[in-house]
Amino acid sequence: MADTSFDIIIIGSGPGGYVTAIRASQLGFKTAIVERDYLGGICLNWGCIPTKALLRSAEIFHYMQHAKDYGLSAEKVGYDAQAVVKRSRAVSKRLNDGVGFLMRKNKVTVIWGEAAIDAPGKVTVKPKGEGPKGALGPGTYQAKHIIIATGARPRVLPGIEPDKKLVWTYFEAMVPDRVPKSLLVIGSGAIGVEFASFFRTLGSDVTIVEVLPQILPVEDAEIAAFARKAFEKQGIKIMTGAKVTKLDKKGDGVTAEIEDGKGQKSSLAVERVISAVGVVGNIENLGLEKLGVKTDRGTIVIDGHCRTNVPGIYAIGDVAGPPMLAHKAEHEGVVCVEAIKGLNPHPMDKLLIPGCTYCQPQIASVGLTEAAAKERKIEVRVGRFPFVGNGKAIALGEDQGLVKVIFDKKTGALLGAHMVGAEVTELIQGYVVAMNLETTEEELMHTIFPHPTLSEMMKEAVLDAYGRVLNI
């Protein structure tokens, strides 16, 4: 008879859950993790990772199409959509196996099935599918601390409910059997623009409809406008301040009724629709109502140490509210178990969570946008540096992009950094470290950035904010 009593049980093995489990185990807690579908959760099975694999195929395809620009020749450049999808699935599978290995290595017990919390300290797991070798099955389990890490799922808006054939969510969009000739993407957040970018690169006629006045609504307006121009140049049609009011499915296509900001209606016929109107927390069927766990607009309410209002029950990641990002979930999980251990970790500062979007061109940001800083009545100094002034960018053939930094005029604190262009998702971390260490403009100016790199633009943007820019 397997042991059913643990110090910590984590419900959900997404990037938040499994990292939490490893950290809990490192701290000496006897730890179990419950999963019903895939180790690694959405992130590495249906989200972050497989989409990056798809986008990589699209990127290489794009370079091959433009081989001439680099003095190369590539003829009869084409793609096999199913092979592209197959590669993406193989990448996910490899990482999925990796999570299983990490659980074994860290002596985390995997329990397979659908979990519900009967009472603080008690988790019942009902059967659901078949788990990996070595996983415990359905039954009743005890734990002093229960951490909910059940993640989120696509939001469904009335009138545009996905049917998974003609109207997709990210699940279907990730495994298309062919590239649709035309595509309507509803929503221009990270998921929407990444799929728009992928399908456009592979030749789809793509239209994005965004209800807000700006695409990439959480990004700095200047960066979003820059990205919009780049998308439009690639042939993506973008309608902002507009909404899809109706979808008529007919045969192998959909006719969408779109209403613009002035109430003008138009219709658009496409082969497929992707609904990317956000995600909602998986708070159902966990027994939260019965336990009296407080929720707010579809997510669980937590404090700075991820405690819910019910002692012994914690929540982390997407289910505990925005920003719904894997790295936010991971960090919350670590803070949560370190607090349980009594290590008094600092609560997470949400302003220090970077965000990355892997469309073409890439977008990366951290901290306050210029508008948000002004809303807080902070006097700011803004610095900018365009990719056209950077040697490495020109050598790469990627001279379109912008780095923008925002400083507190009074204290010199770096409040935010926003970038659009090649590889910026790999660059942003420099600013994130700087912000975490509370550097001011002075330390950034004293830091030596290697030449020739794209990162030099990060320093130039800082210099620009203080009227000392060099290469422009």
Binding site: Q26, G28, K341, T411, A413, L437, E438, T439
Partner: protein, 458 residues
């Protein structure tokens, strides 16, 4: 491979510690997170937790051993399935060096296994990927320094602290390793307790100001927008801290006498009237009543030398000179420059020196040696019409004289009521150094001198 457990560094500056207690015996099973031993330093006792699973094969350093250098081998752990005896025998031989997890990330274990401590510290390691075991409760923060007086703090925190005039070394850091970060400065600005200045001699630490209400509580009592918040400057903070310390640590008592100053006023007029004048007709000196008060107090302290003292824990400092502080009001505070050796100076010299000190105090141009120390002080509010009041002693002095307004009062002399020029003075005394009778003797001597200024020339 057996695992060597080394003496952990409980703080970045720790070089050795006492092995207070073993909580596991030889042969006992240990799993990660188990507390295996207690280590004592001069600052704290901390628990050492195991990171690895196994059996405690051998205790190398017995409990109760003092001054065990950091990184010295203290025990050997046999890993899962390993022979405990063999592991014990191997102790210190070829066993894999493995530091007992330090309660805080610490300098890395030296490469050679039982390296005798006092090695020059290696550069700080990157945070270990291995589990780090931190003591359950946050340690009372001491300034995180590198042992050379540098306070670990973020650049932004340093800039903010400078702006509000708070010494960064006095702020308790809440960042990793006690690093002072921006929010700590905000907290200090908002009234969080500051630490005693690092430079204060041991045993003479000034208790931090402990407001009975938090800033938030106080602000909540007033309607939002009905006040403005003026950040404190350094002088305001110094006044608050020093005088709070004075009242909290010095047992004050007060002695009041009325002095007849008719003779003094006459003498003053005569002296001023005969002051030599320069070409522009400017008098070489113009004595104030306060100048007489300074001189009289200086002489009184010479006549009652037991009251010209400073309390220290080690013994009473009996001062030879009368160094008299003069409280000077500034637009945003107050400072007490000192007339040194006032007993030996003439009234005109005192008068001119005070004028110079006051002018430079108002311009904030005094040097520290001009306002630090002193053996007593004079605080005069007579010009504001104050009849009498009590003053707070300016440590390390033992007395301060609060001087009220000179005024005509009805007094009874020889059974008759007559008008006389009178001035009330109140002496505050530090009861640790000056008892009631001694204080009375001192103020009596002062009264005699101020009422008969001619005695000052004796």
């Amino acid at each position: 491979m057996p695992i060597n457990i080394l003496m952990p560094a409980l703080s970045p500056t720790m070089e050795k510690g006492n092995l207070a207690k073993w909580l596991k015996k030889e042969g006992e099973k240990v799993k990660p997170g188990d507390v295996i031993a207690e280590i004592e330093t001069d600052k704290a006792t901390m628990e050492v937790e195991a990171v690895d699973e196994g059996v405690l094969a051998k205790i190398v350093v017995p409990e109760g051993t003092a001054d065990v250098p950091v990184n010295q081998l203290i025990a050997v752990l046999a890993g899962e399935g390993e022979d405990v005896k063999a592991a014990a025998a191997q102790a210190g031989a070829g066993a894999a060096p493995k530091a007992a997890p330090a309660p805080k990330p610490s300098p890395p274990p030296a490469q050679a296994a039982p390296a005798p401590a006092a090695k020059p510290a290696a550069p700080p390691p990157p945070p270990p990927a291995q589990p780090i075991v931190v003591p359950p409760a946050a340690q009372p923060a001491k300034p995180a320094t590198d042992g050379h007086g540098r306070v670990f703090s973020s650049p932004l925190a340093r800039r903010l602290a400078k702006e509000v005039g708070i010494d960064i070394a006095r702020i308790a850091g809440s960042g990793p390793h006690g690093r002072v970060i921006a929010r700590d400065v905000e907290a200090a600005k908002g009234g969080a307790a500051l630490k005693a200045p690092a430079a204060a001699p041991a045993g003479a630490t000034v208790p931090a100001i402990a407001p009975s209400m938090s800033d938030q509580q106080i602000r909540a009592l007033y309607e939002e927008g009905s006040y403005e918040v003026v950040p404190h400057d350094g002088m305001r903070r110094t006044i608050a801290q020093r005088l709070t310390a004075s009242v909290q640590t010095i047992p004050h008592f007060y002695l009041t006498v009325d002095c007849a100053i008719g003779k003094l006023l006459t003498a003053r007029e005569e002296i001023n009237a005969t002051a030599p004048k320069d070409k522009e007709g400017k008098a070489a000196y113009r004595l104030s009543v306060n100048d007489f008060v300074i001189k009289a107090l200086a002489l009184a302290l010479q006549r009652v030398p037991e009251a010209n003292v400073s309390w220290t824990e080690g013994g009473m400092l009996k001062h030879k000179h009368s160094d008299i502080g003069v409280a000077v009001a500034l637009p945003a505070g107050l400072i007490t420059p000192i007339v040194r050796n006032a007993e030996a100076k003439s009234l005109s010299a005192i008068s001119n020196e005070v004028k110079d000190l006051v002018a430079r105090a108002r311009a904030r141009k005094l040097k520290p040696h001009e306002y630090q120390g002193g053996t007593s002080s004079v605080s005069n509010l007579g010009m504001y019409g104050i009849k009498d009041f009590t003053a707070v002693i300016n440590p390390p002095q033992s007395t301060i004289l609060a001087v009220g307004a000179g005024e005509e009062r009805a007094v009874v002399r020889d059974g008759k009521i007559e008008a006389a020029q009178m001035m009330s003075v109140t002496m505050s005394c530090d009861h640790r150094a000056v008892d009631g009778a001694l204080g009375a003797e001192l103020i009596g001597a002062f009264k005699k001198l101020i009422e008969n200024p001619v005695l000052m020339v004796v």
